[in-house]
């Protein structure tokens, strides 16, 4: 196969001639610097290449070499705790090699090639193995046991299997069939191809995030898809990071796609310090970060999403629950648009290519809960949460609209809530979750039988509040009848003491589902007592100054192990106070 020659350079797009036998999406090395790129259009032996690195200084006439392999990545132990750029170069190693600023033309393997991992076989010589079967394990981090699986197209008898310390490139087992296949600790996968599964399952269990507005009102299922669109400053990134920190998923893949460098640094510096609420281990031990900041080349931004999801699928195949956060898919779509523009393709809506919707749908379709390929029944899930950054906060733009068509949970971030510092600023009237009803059984079994009713009641009160607010706008608060004032009080308690949650407070940042139940129950019960009392002629102002009302505000700041006691105290205090109010009235 011949090397090609650069014939044209414009920004991140390079045209090369003489690439005989090249295939679509082959990865090529460009010029004397050896920049990495990918073939995205072929005309005869003339190839159009999107380059993952800055092309400044390239000249026509320089050489282009075809690696003859599509963009692929090495999957194996060592992925967790890593931080990659858009094309799987570990940023820590990159720093060691090229300093504080990212230099060009560096090719660095994604996995540490020298580290020895302890391989423990689960099969023995002579066993028959099928595709996807687990033949052994490596303790990748104290949190995650890495399973070594038989590749999808291989089956036969194990003619050899070893135990001991190996690097990712060493062979640990051999499968004998008509041909001999070696299995190592790592394998390769092309990132643009979804890893297949046996069968997809309906998502029935919520992904608990410790965020009250999400878990209670708009839950996403394990294996589900969710979109968070919102204008800048409405808290997309904080919400995504909260999910990455607290979601009860085995593995987290966080893709920072075209976002701020300082924010990625924040993730890098905070995650190793945070503890998983259950295991008390650093969260980093279950996390993979992909950081393609906004000043990194645009083509690599396009690739970063696929890099992230391929790693997610890999851990799903081991039978884990994986959650992937992509922040932000709008930047990815803009990268598509930029490349498309350089290719002089006919633009669709707002300059985006006509295939934007298809590409988004393909991405979200890679999520799901599934029985993975394996002889023993193994279930894994991949939850996808994509942030969308609509220009001017206008949800009617193409990326938001195409995303909403394929995702089943919509967390609508609201700039007006954010500007009054109601965080997380998720609008409770416009957001929705199509999973909530289907997961009722799970809540009944695992939280409380009353959960569904409680949630519904709270939502109704909020809905009622928005109607009443319109009246207040016209006639003023004082003109409202007393019972309506009571409703507003309860709604206010739900908003301020329940929905508002501080990501920066050590206690409030995470709320278990049990605590959520206790909190909501306290608020709703107080609301009911208030309604009753108002009916008996007690003015709403008096109720507002009760000691037990103040206790409600305290619950969210109370540590998990003290909540039960506080709520118990609250209930008896509430009873006592309302009783004495009633006594006052009747006398």
């Amino acid at each position: 196969m011949a090397d090609g020659i650069i014939s044209r350079i414009t920004g991140p797009v390079v045209v090369a001639s003489g690439l005989e036998g090249a295939q679509m999406f082959d990865v090529v090395r460009i010029g004397d610097m050896g920049l990495v790129g990918e073939i995205i259009r072929l005309e005869g032996s003339k190839a159009t290449i999107q380059v993952y690195e800055d092309t400044t200084g390239l000249r026509p006439g320089e050489k282009v070499t075809n690696t003859k392999r599509p963009l692929s990545m090495q999957l194996g132990p060592g992925l967790l705790t890593s931080i990659y750029d858009g094309i799987q170069r570990p940023l820590d190693v990159l720093r060691e090699q090229s300093g504080d600023f990212i230099s060009r033309g560096k090719v660095i393997p994604a996995l540490d090639q020298t580290k020895k991992w302890d391989f423990v076989p689960l099969k023995k010589k002579g066993d028959t193995v099928s595709p996807g079967e687990i033949i052994g394990e490596v303790q990748e981090t104290p949190l995650i046991m890495h399973k070594i699986m038989v590749p999808h197209n291989v089956e036969g008898q194990l003619s050899e299997i070893s135990e001991g310390k190996f690097t990712v490139n060493e062979i640990v087992a051999t499968v004998q069939n008509s041909v001999k296949t070696d299995i190592g600790l790592s394998s390769w996968w092309t990132v643009r191809t979804p890893r297949p599964v046996l069968r997809k399952l309906p998502p029935e269990e919520p992904l608990l995030t410790g965020q009250r507005v999400l878990d209670t009102f708009f839950p996403v299922a394990k294996g589900g898809t969710a979109a968070i669109p919102g204008p800048f400053g409405s808290g997309k990134t904080v919400t995504q990071q909260q999910l990455a920190k607290w979601a009860d998923s085995n593995v987290i893949v966080y893709v920072g796609c075209g976002e701020r460098g300082n924010e990625m640094t924040e993730v890098l510096s905070t995650f190793p310090k945070l503890e998983d609420p259950k295991s008390k281990r650093p969260l980093m031990e279950r996390t993979i970060l992909v950081a393609n900041t906004s000043n990194m080349p645009v083509a690599a931004r396009e690739a970063s999403i696929y890099t992230g999801i391929t790693m997610g699928e890999y851990y799903r195949d081991m039978g884990y629950g994986v959650a992937l956060m992509a922040d932000s898919t709008s930047r990815w779509a803009e990268a598509l648009r930029e490349i498309s523009g350089r290719l002089e393709e006919m633009p669709g809506e707002e300059g985006y290519p006509a295939y934007l919707g298809r590409r988004l749908a393909e991405f979200y379709e890679r999520g799901g809960k599934a029985i993975v390929i394996s002889p023993e029944e193994r279930v894994g899930s991949l939850t996808l949460v994509g942030a969308v950054s609509p220009p001017g906060g206008d949800f009617s733009e193409p990326v938001s609209q195409n995303t909403l068509r394929v995702t089943r949970v919509f967390w609508a971030l609201d700039a007006s809530l954010a500007s009054r510092r109601h965080f997380p600023s998720i609008n409770w009237l416009t957001s929705y979750s199509l999973y909530a009803d289907g997961m009722g059984d799970w809540y009944k079994k695992n939280v409380a039988a009353e959960w569904i009713a409680l949630r519904k009641e709270a939502l109704e009160i909020l809905q009622r509040e928005s109607e009443l607010q319109e009246i207040v706008q016209l006639v003023g608060y004082d003109a409202l009848p007393e019972p309506e004032k009571g409703v507003l009080d309860t709604a206010r308690a739900i908003r301020e003491d329940y929905l508002q949650q501080s990501a920066y407070d050590d206690v409030d940042t995470y709320t278990s589902i049990r605590k959520q139940f206790l909190m909501l129950e306290a608020i709703i019960e107080f609301g009911k007592m208030e309604t009753e009392a108002i009916k008996k002629g007690i003015p709403s102002t008096k109720i507002g100054s009760l000691e037990s009302r103040k206790m409600i505000s305290k619950i969210k700041w109370t540590k998990e192990d003290q909540v039960e006691q506080l709520v118990k105290d609250f209930k008896s205090k509430m009873q006592q106070e309302f009783n004495s109010l009633l006594v006052e009235v009747t006398h």
């Binding site: 400044t56 820590d92 800048f232 930029e338 954010a418 510092r421």
Partner: protein, 463 residues
Amino acid sequence: MSTISYKTIDKIAGPLMFVQGIDNAAYGEIVEIKLVNGDRRQGQVLDTRQGLAVVQVFGPTLGLNTSGTSVKFLGETAQISVSDDMLGRVFDGLGNPRDNGPKIVSKHKVDLVGSGINPYSREEPSEFIQTGMSNIDAMNTLVRGQKLPVFSGAGLPHNLLASQIARQAKVLSASESFSVVFAAMGITSEEANFFVKQFEESGALGRTSLFLNLSSDPSMERLLTPRLALTTAEYLAYERDMHVLVIMTDMTNYCEALREISAAREEVPGRRGYPGYMYTDLASLYERAGKIKGRHGSVTQIPILTMPADDITHPIPDLTGYITEGQIVMSRDLHRGDIHPPVDVLTSLSRLMNQGIGKGRTREDHRNLADQLYSTYAQGKDARALAAIVGEEALSDLDRKFLKVANNFERKFVNQGMDENRSIEQTLDIGWELLSELTDSELNRIKPEFIEKYRKRTSTGGK
């Protein structure tokens, strides 16, 4: 190859020049253009292929022709000589001295298009910068290494605000002041004179480096000016251990220049005719703010932009807001109400605030106090809107209190005049004073222990 001059200009269209017969011009290569009358101009290769190079001309195309003009390819990409001597100097938009001083000679030549900082090398910005302005220090705190733009409108005093920040900014723990790199893109000579005078009067000129592209200068230069400024800033920060504040004004003019070149290249336009890659281009400027582990200096950016028709959803403020770590938004209403600086606290935001405040940095009650002020002010403004319809008498007692706090907040807290330099302690104490209208239980954003500790300090505080 720098010895060969080409006289094969085929076409000149807008700021673009098409040169034939060039086989291997590098993408981004700098060219020297020699006019028939002996004048010299510079340009940069935007598109290169076998047999053709498209060159973007910096400066006017007046006098260029297709027969006599010659082009020399210099074999290098855009670079600038940097040294300490650049402080105290005034340059034009291309980095040539504008103050009759000598040219900068240095062995340090640096590429203008810097490569990105590896996120792994970045250090989290966390040092509080005291600007002396309450609405920024208390509500939208600036920290070292942050990029915090000012979103303004035509006729609003953003220049006063910027120069006040440049004058007053300091870090509490450190004695050294900031060095300032100032990049002007397409501003009027009047505005430029204002800044030079401000820097002179405050004695800051000696630690300031100015790059001025005025509105009469060619718009193509504007694409280079901020890069010159940032490259200089990076040199001062990372090689010379200085803390550098970069002020860039007006980013709107920069984006217009970007649109102009895109239109000349007949590219597919994105929103409002701005090119689809404007986000990437702006990011390549803004992302050059930051701190690097193991290096002493830092680059803090304050870009200023004027929102066309005060529209925050216009592509320029919109894309900027998605890249920067917050924004300071100026309000026309406050300006009309004679409040200076007229910063709209509710739409402003500093994303890095939490890293820079609290115990050991500013004061332990800072976060809670700011939250309380925000929500009280927001509710007060709602009450004001309501009162406009139903009258103040129809408001609930609580709303009336909120309204009073909101009014005082604007008059006493936000409003402070051009020369007042408040310490963070003063700022926070004023905040507590405003809140003395509310009862303890109405301070629902503040932890009881802070109410206990700080409320008593104020003169009018009571329960």
